[in-house]
Amino acid sequence: MYPCTMTVKVLLFGPYAAALGARECMVRLGGDHSCAGVLAGLASERPELGRLLPGARLAINGEFAAADRPVTAGDELALIGLVSGG
């Protein structure tokens, strides 16, 4: 059973950081405390991310996480989209 609300910090890089002009943002979660809930929260609260969010992945503690993976207090979250290294 999730608590009613939870606020998480999401690290931002590359085009996401450029879109928000910030290296991190806070997202308030309602009943869905999963990765999918975080992405939905970002879509809702950060319309500036708009077209950049489809296909985005969330990493938890340095590992890509499935949509249904629960997010817990203390997790380090990072929004990872299309990468361009190499």
């Binding site: 690290l11 340095g62 990468v83 290294g85 190499g86």
Partner: protein, 136 residues
């Protein structure tokens, strides 16, 4: 198995003349029949426009971990002797090297296959981003 991964500031320095020496002091490890090197160079044109440089940004803890995991998987999968990865962070000017991959193996086929697979996976899953510094 030997995997080395380094992310460092700016353009990569010139490479050594040969990969890591063997215990006997020879230029190549025992059993090595192939050494394949790839270097990623910053091109002058990006999206049909001239640039001065690329700026690389990394989510470093995850980039380091992911590159290492990919390299270790490929060393096991292809039976390689060693894989060394260097990648830049920060500004790398046109004509400079931002990525270097060295693969050592017994024979060329596995080295070439592993190199190709590593680069595909790097470009898909490693949290490193580049931003063009456009020419004025």
């Amino acid at each position: 198995m030997s995997v080395q991964v380094t992310i460092l500031d700016g353009a990569l320095p010139p490479p050594p003349p040969s990969p890591s020496p063997s215990e006997t002091g020879a230029s190549y490890p025992d059993g090595c029949g192939a050494w394949v090197r790839f270097e990623g160079i910053v091109r002058r044109i990006e999206n049909e426009r001239p640039i001065e440089a690329l700026e690389y940004e990394a989510y470093e803890p995850m980039a380091q971990k992911t590159i290492t995991r990919i390299a270790e998987e490929l060393v096991r999968k292809h039976g390689l002797i060693a894989m060394t990865v260097l990648h830049s962070r920060g500004r790398v000017a046109v004509g400079e090297c931002s990525f270097r991959l060295d693969v050592l193996s017994g024979h060329r086929k596995e080295a070439l296959a592993a190199m190709d697979e590593f680069i595909d996976r790097l470009k898909k899953d490693v949290p490193i981003w580049k931003r063009a510094v456009w020419s004025t």
